[in-house]
Amino acid sequence: MSEPTVTDKEFNIDTVEHASTTPDTDLPWAALGLKSDEYDRIVKILGRRPTAAELAMYSVMWSEHCSYKSSKVHLRQFGEKVTEEMKKDLMVGIGENAGVTNLGDGWAVTFKIESHNHPSFVEPYQGAATGVGGIVRDIISMGARPVAVMDPLRLGDIDHPDTKRVLPGVVSGIGGYGNSLGLPNIGGEVVFDSVYQDNPLVNALAVGVMRHEDIRLANASGVGNRVVLFGARTGGDGIGGASVLASESFDDSKPSKRPAVQVGDPFAEKVLIECCLELFHAELVEGIQDLGAAGISCATSELASNGEGGMHVELTNVLLRDPTLTPGEILMSESQERMMAVVTPANAAEFERVMAKWEVEYSWLGEVTDTGRLIIEWDGETIVDVDPRTVAHDGPVYERPYHRPEWQDALQADTFRSSAAGANLPETAQELGGAVVDLMTSPNMADVSWITDQFDRFVGGNTALSQPDDSGVIRVDEETGLGVGLSTDANARYAYLDPYAGAQLALAESYRNVATSGAVPMAVSDCLNFGSPEDPEVMWQFAEAVRGLADGCQELGVPVTGGNVSLYNQTAGRAIHPTPVVGVLGKFDDVGRRTPSGFERWADGQAIYLLGTTADELDGSEFARGRDHLGGLPPKVDLGAEKMLGEILINASRDGMIDAAHDLSEGGLAAGLAEMALRFGVGARVAVDGICERDGVDPFTALFSESQARALVALPRSEELRFTDMTSARGFPALRIGVVDASSGDLEVAGPYAGGSFTLGLDELREAWSAVIPSRFASLGEATEAVRQEK
């Protein structure tokens, strides 16, 4: 069989010359997702109609996904609400593939969260897998070695049949890809809620580290330098994915979009990681860009406009998997595991040697020019002649109209206490104990190890903490123990009740989680998942959430270093709850100091303290969810208190005062205690009397309220005085509520209620808690049994 050649192609090439002589040709701009005014603008920019290839480029690069056209005007706040103090450790800010933060000792860290929501609904395995692949390539293209991933997931109702299709597919996709890259999966979230039934959220975070001198940027500098595409071949997968999949909602009236989802090859990506690190180490590339959404269109236009301004490319040099692809399709293809780099002619031979060593295919596409034009030729004929800035940066910017929904007032007035769900609350010891069991065996509080056990958390040998601890912790420097802690959080129920506060609560929880494990919070990355920006009510939610997050970051003094916006998470007119997922990265001078989230066996008799105060804040809570209620106002945000709590937890960790710490969030004190006891199967005896007395709340509220800026800690008696001196010096409330009891195997909670106390056997609780997810998704035990029966 002979290699297909260019002349085998059976399509007419729409050249620039042809376009100028055929101004009236009809082009499918609407089918490519462009609005008529956007198309008119392209014609105006070019002074003629675009060629088919140019139209392909503009349509993908001007899509919501690539251009942030609806969100841009709001996202500016992340750059504006920043003080000099917040910028001091920021080495690369928003706008590059990922932000870079100085970690000290010559180390830098880069991290980012992205969404792959729509593809993961269409094809869960490949959608989730390529989501991991894409974010990892963003990290590589900064010059970093990726060192860990995390995966915040939101799915439909746990008992809905489609969730059985989506969740197992997504989990094995994340595992199948991430495990094969040798990246430990150190945490994430799993939330089940029917609002995500037709719009599951699959977000992925990757973190990488580098030496300062290894930071690489996406720009094509140096006239005469050569442009090379390397990695996987370009195929027909993911064509139009960026413009079609990410910008439109799912709707029955449209044809199936299945072919638009990309297919991942994790082996190719693993080789690409090692090959790129070798290129960086040998200083063989001047600029580098990963190929993600919009593929070659994005890489060429961004590299050119960030560098000398011009680039000349011969598109027939692109190595193809499918020789029938048209130039436009080649420009739009989102085939995975590809990178584009700029290499000096002097380094070309050495570059080729590295490619040969790793058996990576490459093709030289063209060179950097200073013409200010991106010229793309097809077999010598010009098919693209544009100013790359107009493609990459000068896309449309919309001031979408927005307004507070009419129903928001009624929603906020419908408080838990005033509702039917707020009647007949548990009061006696027996009722309260039963309510704790019900809470811990609800889908969103249950053990997630059925999911996390499908991910490698050990590879690399640097994982100091992972799920289910408060944050994932990775050692960066083996000699000093320097490392990072990461957490991602969002409570979309809170954000639905009040998007401004909800975004701040997501930030607060993530910040608190990182501080609880002992890391000093340094930087934020966000993944803003919302409905359609064309709906003014959704747009209001978005605007409020961004404003809340930007204000919150400023108050806490941690800058947003990058992130992603995912809009159109809406099907048949029904939007998801606003879901601003916030990732916080913190620094450890020595990860050996990290604080685990549970009582350890040797810690018998240690004192348990509750930090912070408890108010009557049940609206939006997990307890309210258990009674199908969502209304009222989310818990009060107090970022000053969060900051102080963080300082206490970080100092206590650094000075070795505490041996366990866990933040209180969903499920309140009840969940916090149960999780700390379940972590290592070590019980405790506590009493809530002191909380009720000091804060003027009833025992039910003490256990289930979700008041913020709270955490539980366990510490040896010998450290109690030093610890309480520290909290009282700051005027931060700390209350001794019990002791660790390693011998009983029970969690005993006493309080001012009928019956005096309730006792939960940890073995029984664990059995029920850990059965919730496997019972829905074919447990290891069942599947194993079935196969073993056959043998």
Binding site: T452, E479, T784
Partner: protein, 259 residues
């Protein structure tokens, strides 16, 4: 002198000389290998010197022993280990491990490395997908049933150890006659304790060859060598270092001229 296993740059760059560690142990990297750094770290913490070897090279660089680390060589898109088995370096290892005269090279295959050893017939049996069909990562208790190999000489008979297990294709299969011979000759080196995690025949986690110099196991001792980063154990979270004994064993065996 740096003794770390650097994240940046690579451990392939001239290994630091270790004045106390006479043993030089090769760690082979294939395309798709993941745990090579971890294996190198384990060798260093065990007191030896890790020598990075590249699959396409043909020189064993005078190493005293070999570790084939875990990962997904060539993506495991064919049978796990089936392509890696044909690497030039593997031919050298097979020859050195089965030498008819002189000392036979001690070889340890972990996870994907074990799969390469069965594919190259240095060890009997083969590995298929876990019976529950999922990737599984967990702390795993093993019983050490053969302490006569250079890799297990410092364990006590029937010692229980905890090391991480993490794989997709970890179900050990062999025909009944082979299984019977392995059992009869005491060549089952490691056996799963508690629930069989993947359906392996006879709960086999690791085996050795007739001359006991080649050992393969599915779980990962190189992830249980440093307190703070290993499996949980009785002394606390992630404190398990049972895997280190495998590396100190081979180093001691080499120093003592065993095998």
């Amino acid at each position: 002198m740096s003794t770390e296993t650097p994240l940046i740059g690579d451990f392939h760059a001239s290994p630091a000389a270790n004045p106390l560690g006479g043993a030089r142990i090769g760690v082979v990297t294939f395309p798709g290998t993941l745990d090579d750094r971890d294996a190198a770290r384990a060798i260093r913490l065990g007191g030896g010197t890790a020598v990075p070897l590249w699959h396409a090279d043909e020189s064993l660089q005078n190493v005293d022993a070999i570790v084939l680390p875990g990962g997904f060589s060539y993506g495991d898109y064919l049978r796990a280990g089936a392509i890696a088995r044909f690497a030039p370096m593997m031919n050298k290892i097979i020859a050195a491990a089965t030498a008819s005269s002189g000392t036979r090279l001690p070889v340890l295959g972990i996870c994907n490395g074990f799969q390469m050893l069965t594919e190259s017939h240095l060890l009997p049996g083969s590995m298929v997908k876990n019976d529950h069909l999922k990737f599984l990562c967990r702390d795993q208790v093993l019983r050490v049933e053969n302490t006569s190999t250079p890799w297990t000489s410092q364990f006590t008979d029937d010692e229980l150890i905890a090391v991480p297990l993490k794989n997709q294709d970890g179900q050990y299969l062999a025909d009944p006659a082979t299984l019977e011979a392995l059992e009869a000759e005491g060549r089952v080196v490691f056996r799963y304790v508690g629930e069989n995690p993947n359906g392996s025949r006879n709960g086999i986690a690791g085996v050795t060859n007739e001359t006991h110099n080649v050992v393969g196991l599915m779980p990962h001792p190189e992830h249980a060598v440093e307190a703070g980063y290993g499996p949980d154990d009785a002394t606390g979270m992630r404190s398990g270092t049972d895997g280190l004994t495998i590396f100190t064993s081979v180093i001691a065996s080499l120093a003592g001229g065993a095998q």
